[in-house]
């Protein structure tokens, strides 16, 4: 265990050109968000009566939740199954999840028509609604994530801010409850997101509409957890000029071969059982989107990861993990947007500049605050890279 350094704040200049770009993107998004609250959703989005959900639901919410799965998968591995080898990646994964869910909430706040009424599901319960279950889980899980992050904040500021230190000591005894609750809540709403579109059997394309969609969402969220950790750790260590953490990341991907393989097997079996392969090559937008999602996002990276050479190469490991991450993102976009074909629609939906700008701004926000957190809080364990002569 002593082979890794303790998590520590990063001693790197904050205002790099990359951070300035992020700030600019957030600024542009802020302008469009202001326009949305001044002129309504119609002023900024391409949403229409036939297509009430768009990019903000497909990416900011559905994809955001899926890609934040690294938080609970690494917590389960290191804290529940006691694989302390992975301890070093739990904090960055937890931070990503915390920021991811925070921005999921921001995205939802902007997207729902009556943002000021966002608290109402807490009072008016409707347990028939899948969305109600998802919302409750997300609200509770968001709090659990912040609680799980308290030790990191206390390590740095616990002396200065007395209440933080006290809170941390109290939590120490019961943290295991929150760790397990986080995993349970994640399993519930990751699968719940998959149940959402099951309410529209006549509108969702048969390639995606299956009663086991919740299971597929859960399996893909679990499968994408570690690749997402590899993906973001590689980006973070490269851009912050830190030592790469290949010795941790490499074994993570062996687990991924199994988890992604399981998702792939269940998904292909489901297609075979329902006979939906007949839609695979009909040349429609949906068939092409499904093939892209499955081949480039699941099958090819899975085959790549079978090779030890790929798993040992920093570059190829990054490429294969990025493909898995993008594959799951595409799956969520497909399920929520591409597959959705209402019977009386006269036009199809394509996101507006404003929707794209807000989504880009929210993603920038996640990266920006990740940068802030790793700069000031003990999150990353990687040591600065040796300066090469």
């Amino acid at each position: 265990m002593s082979e890794h350094a303790r998590p520590a704040p990063i001693a790197a200049p904050f205002w790099t050109p990359g951070v300035l770009v992020l700030t600019a993107l957030m600024g542009i998004a802020a302008i469009f968000i202001a326009a949305r609250f001044a002129g309504g959703l119609a002023a900024v989005t391409n949403l229409k009566q036939s297509h009430p959900w768009g990019l903000w639901i497909g990416i900011d919410v559905a994809t955001g939740v899926a890609l934040a799965a690294g938080g609970f998968t690494t917590a389960a591995l290191a804290h529940i199954f006691g694989r302390h080898h992975y301890e070093a990646v739990t904090r960055p994964a937890l931070l990503t999840a915390m920021l991811g869910y925070t921005f999921v909430s921001v995205g939802l706040f902007v997207d729902i028509g009556r943002s000021w009424a966002i608290w109402k599901p807490l009072v008016f319960w409707q347990p028939n609604s899948v969305l109600f279950e998802v919302a409750m889980c997300v609200v509770i899980y968001l709090h659990v994530l912040y609680i799980e992050f308290i030790p990191a904040a206390a390590e740095r500021f616990g002396e200065k801010i007395k209440i933080l230190g006290t809170l941390n000591r109290v939590l120490d005894k019961v943290m295991w409850v929150f760790i397990i609750a986080g995993v349970v809540l994640s399993c519930m709403h990751q699968s719940g997101l998959g149940s959402l579109m099951l309410i529209a059997p006549t509108k969702v394309h048969p390639l995606w509409y299956t009663p086991i969609l919740p299971l597929l969402f859960l399996l893909s969220a679990i499968a994408v957890g570690y690749p997402m950790v590899v993906f973001e750790t590689a980006i973070a260590t490269t851009s912050l000029n830190l030592e790469d953490e290949m010795q941790i990341l490499n074994p993570l991907t062996r687990v991924t071969v199994f988890l992604l393989g399981l998702y792939m097997a269940v998904k292909i079996t489901d297609m075979a059982v329902r006979g939906t392969y007949s839609y695979l090559f009909d040349g429609s937008v949906q068939s092409r989107a499904f093939l892209t999602e499955m081949i480039a996002g699941v099958i090819v990276p899975w085959v790549m990861l079978l090779f030890p050479g790929v798993r040992r190469s920093r570059r190829w490991l990054f490429i294969s993990c990025a493909m898995i991450v993008l594959g799951v993102a595409l799956n969520r976009i497909n399920v929520f947007l591409v597959s959705y074909s209402p019977p009386h629609a006269t036009q199809s939906y394509f996101p507006s500049i404003g929707e794209i700008a807000v989504t880009a701004g929210l993603i920038s926000g996640i990266i920006f605050f990740y940068r802030v957190a790793v700069t000031f809080l003990p999150v990353l364990s990687a040591r600065p890279r040796e300066v090469k002569p």
Partner: protein, 307 residues
């Protein structure tokens, strides 16, 4: 204070949290054959648009862009939207009159007021509700604007006020809920229809009338009442001399739309058994694999000593 059996159940229901098992049964209880419905006879409709006008007036909708006497609107297919709860569309069937002219068929489109409404099942706060008299109504004071009802509706009916920045509403036919709640009250459209293409009554009566009409003219009418079985039954029923799919009334499954999601939700969350079991299994795993975590001594403290 006396706790009645009913209120005790309510308290228990609240304590049970997400596991409101009873609600599915309750939703089904809400519908009965005495619910009101409306029978639309497509064969009788002459496309006068009086129902559109009456609807606009009764529901105090924003003024229409063109007059209700303007028949050029039929040149394109319309959908109900945030400013019109009902529209009449014209279709030309393969039937021709004596002079060989194609016979138009006019069909009124509005909320079908499903017996098991997907919108109400989807609604996160219960803003949409199947009332005991058959109407599916919307309560804006509960709505958060998630628009999941629009995703859920198989008839693509709920419309949204996308241009309203702060208090947009879901807009759809109310079945003139307040009118029909009164003795002898009619929905605006059925009250004004000059050719009795729309018949208001209890659903069971209407089904009798519908079957009588189609069986009396078997060569003219399609031998089916649209809405009798579709998506578990709807309060609005259609009979027609033109195949329904040519009128935009597409084939739909007979199973109620929310069946699958409600079955999944209620089997997983009954008494919260699944989350509790998972919590137990994970706690057992943690106790076995990582006992220090449970005793409040996370492994990182050990690491500190080692380092």
């Amino acid at each position: 204070m006396q706790i009645t059996r009913r209120s005790l159940f309510k308290i228990m229901g609240a304590a049970g949290g997400l596991s409101a098992i009873g609600s599915r049964a309750a939703a089904a209880e809400n519908t009965s054959d005495d619910d009101y419905g409306c029978l639309a006879d497509v064969g009788r409709c002459i496309g006068c648009r009086k129902c559109e006008m009456a609807c606009s007036k009764v529901n105090a909708l924003p003024p229409a862009q063109t007059s209700f006497e303007d028949m050029t609107v039929f040149d394109r297919n319309r959908r109900p939207d945030e400013a019109a709860f009902t529209v009449v569309n014209r279709y030309f069937s393969s039937r021709a009159d004596e002079r060989g002219q194609p016979v138009p068929a006019y069909i009124k489109v509005q909320c079908m007021h499903c017996l098991h409404p997907a919108c109400a099942s989807a609604c996160i706060t219960g803003a949409l509700k199947k009332q005991e008299n058959g109407a599916v109504t919307y309560n804006p004071s509960r709505c958060i604007g998630c628009r999941y009802c629009m995703i859920a509706c198989p008839f693509q009916i709920p419309a949204y006020e996308f241009s309203d920045p702060l208090t947009p509403r879901v807009r759809k036919c109310t079945f003139c809920f307040e009118n029909i709640s009164k003795q002898g009250g009619l929905p605006g459209c059925a009250a004004i229809c000059p050719v009795e293409a729309l018949t208001f009554g209890t659903r069971s009566e209407l089904l009798k009338i519908a079957h009588q009409r189609i069986s009396e003219a078997p060569l003219e009418y399609v031998q089916k009442v649209y809405g009798e079985h579709e998506v578990g039954g709807t309060s609005w029923l259609y009979i027609s001399k033109v195949p329904f799919e040519k009128l935009g009334l597409y084939p739909l499954p007979e199973k109620e739309i929310p069946h699958l999601t409600e079955t999944i939700q209620h089997s997983i969350f009954a008494y919260m058994w699944a989350p509790i079991t998972l919590f137990g299994i994970l706690a057992g795993a943690m106790r076995f694999f990582n006992p220090q975590q449970m005793s409040g001594k996370p492994s990182q403290i050990q690491t500190e000593k080692e380092v």
